[in-house]
Subunit: 342 residues, 2 copies
C-alpha cells in the first residue's frame, strides 16, 4: 500500500492524505479521521526512501564502529551503547545504520556516508587522543557527537563522556585511605582517550599523596581477561608487589582476580581491586554486595543521552556544541579492604 493507492481508495488527492497523516492544519478533522482510519486499516507506512528523498533528510543516524585490523577486536561496550541509543532513535522515527570499519580507511567511510547522503549524523566511537576524525567531520559538514572526548583537539564539538579522571581520583583516594601505598594500574591502550584520562586521575592522586609513580606498576594494553591476568602475575612477582590494583574494566578485573587467587592470595584481603564498571547488561557486578568495588557508569545511559543530543543538534539549524559529563558512582564491594601490614 502506498500513498497513491491510499488516496485513490479514499477519493482524495495524495496531498490531502499526506497532510492529514502528518498533522497539517489545513485538513478538516472529519477527513483526517477518515484518512487515519484507512491508513491504520491498511497498515500504511510511508516509504523511508521516498520520504527521505522528498525531505532531503536521511532519517537515519550512522554509527561507525572501528575494529582494529590487528586484533580484530571489537569493544564489548558497544552492544549496550547501541541498545541505549537505539531506543531514542526509534522513538523519534530515526533508523540506525552501522558501518563496521577497520581503522585503516575510516576517512572513506565518513566521506562516503556524507556523499551518499545516507545519514543525517554520526556518532564517533572510541575517540583517541588527537583524534583526526573530529576535524574531518567538521570539514565535510556531517553532524556528529563523540562518545568520549579527544584530548589535544581544540576545535569545539559535542560529546558525552564519563568523568574518567574524577572516577580514578576517587578510586585512588579510597585505596589510599585504606592505607595502600603500592597501587598498580591496569589500563586500556593509552592511545585511547579514556585510558589517558584514567591514568591522569590515578597519577594525580598518587602524587598529591606523596606517592611516587612506579612504571613497573603501570600497565596498558587490550582489555582482555588474559591481559588482566598476565599483568597481575607480573606485578605480584615483583620484589615489592602492589597491595592494590586499579583496573579499567570488569573483564580485565576477572583476569586480575584469577591471577591473585592463583598466587594463593585473597582478593580484598591480600590485594585490593577497584575496577571501572560500564554496567554491561550481561556482566552484572555481583549481587547484594558487589563482587568488585567499582566506579560505575552505565554505558547504556550514555547511549541514550548521546542520541538525544545528536538528534537535537540535527533538528537545530544553528547548533551549539553541547557537552555532558557523567559522574561515575563509587560502589564499595568485596574486593577492597585495608592494606595488609607487612
Amino acid at each position: 500500500m502506498n500513498l497513491k493507492q491510499l488516496s485513490l481508495e479514499l477519493g482524495l488527492s495524495q496531498t490531502t492524505v499526506s497532510r492529514a497523516l502528518n498533522g497539517f492544519p489545513e485538513v478538516s478533522e472529519a477527513t483526517r479521521n477518515r484518512v487515519q482510519l484507512a491508513a491504520d486499516r491498511h497498515q500504511y507506512r510511508p516509504s523511508t526512501r521516498a520520504k527521505g528523498l522528498a525531505t532531503g533528510k536521511a532519517l537515519a543516524i550512522g554509527h561507525v564502529i572501528p575494529v582494529s585490523t590487528k586484533h580484530e577486536t571489537m569493544n564489548p561496550i558497544f552492544g549496550d551503547f547501541i541498545a541505549g541509543a537505539g531506543e531514542t532513535y526509534s522513538r523519534n522515527g530515526y533508523e540506525m545504520t552501522l558501518s563496521i570499519v577497520d581503522d585503516q580507511n575510516e576517512d572513506d567511510i565518513y566521506r562516503g556516508l556524507k556523499a551518499r547522503r545516507s545519514v543525517d549524523g554520526v556518532v564517533v566511537h572510541a575517540p583517541r587522543m588527537h583524534d583526526p576524525r573530529i576535524a574531518l567531520l567538521n570539514e565535510i559538514g556531517l553532524p556528529f557527537v563523540v562518545h568520549g572526548r579527544a584530548s589535544g583537539v581544540t576545535a569545539p564539538y559535542s560529546w558525552v563522556d564519563v568523568n574518567n579522571r574524577r572516577a580514578f581520583n576517587r578510586a585512588a583516594d579510597l585505596l589510599i585511605d585504606l592505607g595502600h601505598r603500592r597501587i598498580g594500574l591496569i589500563n586500556g591502550l593509552e592511545v585511547m582517550d579514556f585510558a589517558h584520562r584514567r591514568r591522569n586521575g590515578y597519577m594525580d592522586t598518587l602524587t598529591a599523596n606523596g606517592i611516587a609513580a612506579d612504571p613497573s606498576l603501570m600497565w596498558s594494553g587490550e582489555m582482555t581477561e588474559d591481559f588482566g591476568y598476565q599483568s597481575t602475575r607480573e606485578m605480584l612477582a615483583l620484589d615489592n608487589p602492589p597491595t592494590a590494583v586499579m583496573v579499567s574494566s570488569l573483564i580485565l578485573a576477572l583476569g586480575v582476580r584469577r591471577a591473585i587467587e592463583e598466587c594463593g592470595l585473597t582478593m580484598g584481603r591480600d590485594v585490593s581491586v577497584i575496577t571501572h564498571d560500564d554496567a554491561l547488561s550481561y556482566f552484572r557486578n555481583g549481587g547484594d554486595v558487589p563482587i568488585f568495588t567499582a566506579t560505575r557508569s552505565s554505558v547504556r545511559d550514555a547511549g541514550r543521552r548521546l542520541a538525544e543530543m545528536l538528534l537535537a543538534d540535527i533538528a537545530n539549524p544553528f547548533p551549539q556544541p553541547q557537552n555532558e559529563l557523567l559522574e561515575a558512582e563509587l560502589m564499595v564491594g568485596q574486593s577492597t579492604g585495608p592494606a595488609p601490614n607487612l
Copy 2:
C-alpha cells in the same frame, strides 16, 4: 555533487553518466573513462535514497536485536556477529540497519520494516523454540535468514547454525573417556533453541553411556558470570558433587572457575570444565594452551556466512531455502583432566 551536476559538467546526459558508472555496455570506453575520472575527482557517490527509490530495492539489511524487557540483557555475541556480517554487506554495497526491540512488540517491527520498505531482508537473531517470527516473516514476505534454528517449526527456511548437539556430544564423550561419570550442565535459558540442542547433545551421550541424567546437575539460566558461579557453588555443595561440568559460554565458565577455586579445588584436576567458546574478539580463550577446554566456533564467521546467504537469497528471484551447519572444533585446554579417583 549529484548526477545532474556531474552530467552537466561533462556535457553528457544523466543516462550516459549513470550507465558509464554502472558498467553498462552501451558506453564507449573513452567516455566511460572520462566519466569515471570526473566522478572520482568530485568523489561522486549516488544517493542511496534515490537509488533505492529508483530500483525498488532498499540496499539495506535489517538486524532486529531482541532485548529482554525483564533483564535488559543483550546477548554479548551480538557485536562480533554484526562485525562479521557487516563486512559482507559493505563489500556488496549494502547498508546494515539495526532495530533494538524489546520482546513485546517484535511483530510490529518486522511489519514496519516491510511496510516502510526500508530493508531488503532481515536476519533473525536468537531463535527460540517454536519461534513465531519465522511464520510471520514468511507471511509478510520479507526475505530472512535465521542465525540458529527453531525446533518445532516445520516450514522450510534458511539458516546458519552451529552443530550444537554434536558439539556437546563430543564434549561429553571426552569427559566420559577421561573417566567422569558425574557431569554437570550449565546452560542458557532453554527456551532458546541453541540451549535446547546442547542439552539434547549432553543427554544423548550420557544415556548412551549408561549414565542416568540427574536433574540436580542440570542448570539453565541467563548466561552471566554470576549464574555460572552460583550454580557451580550449589552443585559442589551436593553430597555427590560432579567431577566435571559442561558450560554454554565462556562468561559462565569464568564464574564456574571462580566457584571451583573458592571451594579450594583446582580446575582441571578436581573438577574438569568444558565450555562452548564463540571466539569473541574481546574474550580470547587463553594463549598457547587454551585456559578452557572448549567447543569452539567463531560467531564472526557465522555472521559472514549468513550475510552471504541472505544476499544470495535476495538476488535470486526464486530462492530455495539454504542451510549451513557449522561444526565446532573441540580444543583441549587446561581445564580438563582424568576424573579424580574417590
